[in-house]
């Protein structure tokens, strides 16, 4: 079968289409998911293909969507539900934390919740308030949840299929500014990207840069600039916040001895703090410089005119790289 050049949105759509064809228990629902195909069109055409019973619009109620999906999952279905925006997920979080995450443990495995909650993630599209949130650290703090973030069309399809087949609840965060940012060859046939595995984006010898989601592209750009200055960067896409790929993190950090961790989310208690600590615990004495964090600020994401002030860009990443190289 041929590969096609697809956007991230189209790759997700293809993955859903193929999983729904293979497995009749997969259903997609959420706000405007059925008829319209979602506000970002990830579920476009699915209702036409599979009917109103397998892809449909839900009443406008996030807790209702997630809570009902929990019941569905316990009784043999694989719901893939959409939160229209990351900020709206707040209304559904109690169901996720109180029940989806706990049902397996609470019932000692008698009842399980194989469901996927998909949502657009992060800023960068000049949207309204509550449309640009980065809450991955909070989700990663909840035992029982998996939290993954693809950064390419290829990964998006492979990770979505893995998420749908996963026996546990998965929060699937889709960097919304990458939805249509670029195209990539995506195989028509089935393939899996295992959840919890980081990806090496580019190898290097001087600095290791960890990122995920839309930050990966900023790090790649920064690495190109760094190379011009004679700095060789290793760029690692974590892809999964829970579980973290500890082996990849420790291997990559040790290899260069200099670490920059990049995320769009607020700084304090962010994932960079956790990853730094992991590195500190295992690689104390082996680093050539203190770990550098390049992150969002501990403020509310400004409204659209001021969004660029907040967002981490390749310039800030490069500054971080220069700092750990002692070239400031």
């Amino acid at each position: 079968m041929a590969n096609q050049a697809l956007t991230l949105v189209a790759a997700l759509n293809l993955g859903l289409k193929q999983e729904m064809a293979k497995d009749k228990t997969v259903v997609c629902y959420g706000e405007d998911v059925g008829l319209e195909g979602g506000v970002f069109r990830v579920t476009e055409g699915l209702q036409k293909l599979y009917g109103n019973e397998r892809c449909f619009d839900a009443p406008l109620a996030e807790a209702g969507i997630i809570g009902s999906a929990i019941g569905m999952a316990i009784n043999g279905m694989k719901p893939v539900v959409e939160m229209q925006f990351d900020g709206f997920f707040m209304e559904g979080i109690p169901q996720m934390v109180d029940h989806a995450a706990r049902m397996r443990n609470r019932s000692r495995g008698a009842f399980t919740v194989p469901m996927v909650v998909r949502m657009p993630f992060g800023g960068g599209i000049k949207a309204l308030e509550h449309h640009s949130e980065s809450m991955e650290a909070f989700f990663g703090h909840i035992p029982g949840l998996k939290v993954v973030i693809p950064s390419t069309p290829f990964d998006a399809k492979g990770m979505l299929i893995s998420a749908i087949r996963d026996p546990d609840p998965v929060i699937f965060l889709e960097p919304k500014r990458l939805y249509r940012a670029f195209k990539q060859e995506v195989p028509e046939e089935e393939y899996f990207i295992p959840l919890g595995k980081a990806a090496l984006i580019q190898d290097g010898t001087d600095v290791t840069v960890f990122a995920y989601g839309s930050m990966v592209r900023e790090c790649q750009k920064a690495a190109i600039e760094a190379a011009k200055m004679g700095i060789s960067c290793m760029v690692v896409d974590l892809r999964s916040i829970s579980p973290l790929d500890r082996d990849a993190i420790l291997y990559s950090a040790e290899k260069t001895g200099r670490v920059v961790i990049v995320h769009e989310a607020a700084r304090t208690f962010g994932t960079a703090g956790e990853i730094s600590m992991l590195i500190y615990e295992h690689l104390y004495g082996k680093l050539k410089a203190p770990v550098e964090r390049v992150t969002g600020f501990d403020i509310v994401m400004p409204l659209l005119k001021g969004e660029d002030l907040y967002l981490v860009d390749s310039f800030r990443v490069l500054e971080g790289i220069k700092k750990v190289m002692g070239k400031m």
Partner: protein, 356 residues
Amino acid sequence: MDKLNTEMVQILTPEGRLNESLRPKELTDEVVFELYKKMMFCRMCSDRALKMQRSGRMGTFTSVEGQEALQIGSEFALKKQDWIVPAFRELAVMWAHGVPMEKIYQYWIGNEWGSHPPAGVHVLPVSIPVGSQMLHGVGLSWAAKLQGKDEIAVNYFGDGASSEGDFHEAMNFAGVFKTPTIFICQNNQYAISTSRMIQTASKTIAQKALGYGFPGVLVDGNDLFAMYAVTKEAEQRARRGDGPTLIEAYTYRFGDHSSSDDSSKYREKAEVEAWRPKDPMKRLQLYLASKNLWSEKIEEEMRAKFQVEVDAITEKAIAMPVQTVDEIFDYTYAELPAALAEQKNYLKNILLKKNG
């Protein structure tokens, strides 16, 4: 069911008079006697659990006293494969639907295995956040409908839950998607200390169903006959594909909210005493006595027999092992992530050191 009727369905009065014209045919005197025995057994188990709590052998416990007819009567209208979605005061319905009593004790003693029912028993674990479980019942029954399974789901919750957003979302989803769901509101007049009057300005909770496009019915929750009858009607509606029903079962919580509560702080003794004559057990005793199926002597013998059973259950529950280190880690995910494996190992080593 008349949608605007706010009168309460009652078939057996507190004085033990039965309205024969409304009597469900399945409830022969013999069946009623058997159900009475179940109710008695559950009340004794609930009392024992409270005693276990008082003597430090159980954690917090929520007594079912006063709500036995409500739970045993409604459960009797269901099929084995139907789903029970409890809150936390559902000892009777959970047991009647197949969870062994020692498992129920095990949960309240503080071990997750108490929420692992035998295979094929469709009873979800106790759900503590008020009202949040109602959406699961909608999902369970919705999945059954989509897969063509002959299963319905029954949500149990209290009057306090009717104030929660999840109550609204669950009822709304059920109405929109016509799921085979029964909502049983156990209106026992209190959410801990807060009276039913503070939960809603609505005349009844049953009438809220109107806003969701399906029938609601107010029923005397202390009347076994009425509870069975209205649940049976709702069950048949659900099985026919006609969608959900809300049942407001009017009852009274004779005990404290939980073993940690002291209800004398917020309600008069006289109020509790005024409800005593409406006890669901008492009216059945009066009725069954009129059929020569009940007497003080029969009651005594029954209680003595159950006492032995409850003792055995208590012993069994107390003898159950505490959680192992493996158990508390291994059910977080289907597969243990590396970080959790490391933490588990750490705890095992610490315990080895600590315990020598």
